[in-house]
Amino acid sequence: MSEPAPKRPGLAIWLPLILFGAFFALVIWGLVRPADREVASAFIGKPLPSFALEAAVEDRPGLATADFKAGKPKLLNVFASWCVPCAIESPQLAALAKQGVEIDGVAIRDRREDVARFLATNGNPFARIGKDDLSQVQLAIGSSGVPETFVIDGKGVIRYQHIGEIREEDMSLILEKLKEAES
């Protein structure tokens, strides 16, 4: 039995090592990469589903889809009194309201007295507040947490979603999106 002529080991001999290296890099990348746990709404660009929520506090009316078809862009803020970051965005919401932006709130799984206390402490930037005890509106617009803020144009179409509290550095973006929603 004659040995076949020894072939020169080509690049192929490095292939397993390269593959291993690639897998290793992938695993390390998966470990160190800051995980993105936010689920963005897939409902941007679509009209608000129809809903009608009863008022969450005494001095503000409830909220319905029709309220968003008045021709002017508005903010829809999904919040809750039990949500800690919601208090953080209060000054920003107040500033937006002061600039003439209408902000409508949806209080998620909240008791009336708790909403009232939350607004007494943090200020009330809302024109209307609907009470969403079963997260129905939240689910219907593809929101997965509190706080979230949606820009709704004058025809009631969802134009932009901001996940998490609105910080000072987000203000220009929100105003820009509101302006875009005017067209």
């Binding site: 039990w82 799984r109 008791r111 005890d133 593809g142 947490g145």
Partner: protein, 144 residues
């Protein structure tokens, strides 16, 4: 000594303190923990809930999660099933809002095709490689 007593008292008090959790105080939605009256409908709802992702606790299905939002999603699923809606229609409704990520059941979409094609491609490649090897072996045997 009184300091020690104070400390013990404090430790005991801490045991009974309510945790300051970011959780709402409302009772769970009616159908969050209650099964549907009709066992056939409940079975349908259960099968669907096991394949829907909880958005708050993303490695759990809504059927496994105690997050209030998962409870509200279960309520949503059960009431819709009760109203006679098709489970797949409910899944589609949720996917329209949250994307494919909300469903654990793979959707038949073009992006999945490479995944299904991969075993075939690998088998084919292996076949071609092996054929080459066998031919070589047969040739060298003949040569002897």
């Amino acid at each position: 000594m009184s300091l020690l007593i104070k400390r013990i008292a404090l430790a005991v008090l801490v045991l009974f303190a309510a945790p300051l959790a970011a959780q709402d105080l409302l009772p769970p939605a009616p159908y969050a923990y209650k099964q549907l009256e009709d066992p056939a409908q409940e079975a349908k709802a259960q099968a669907l809930m096991e394949t829907l992702r909880c958005l708050k606790c993303q490695s759990q299905a809504i059927s496994d999660s105690d997050a209030p939002m998962a409870g509200d999603m279960r309520h949503q699923v059960r009431t819709r099933i009760k109203a006679g809606e098709d489970p797949e229609a409910i899944r589609t409704w949720l996917i329209e809002r949250y994307g494919d990520y909300v469903s654990y059941a793979p959707q038949n979409k073009p992006i999945m095709w490479p995944l299904f094609a991969a075993p075939l491609v690998i088998l084919l490649l292996a076949g071609i490689l092996l054929r080459g090897r066998f031919r070589k072996a047969a040739k060298s045997e003949k040569a002897e």
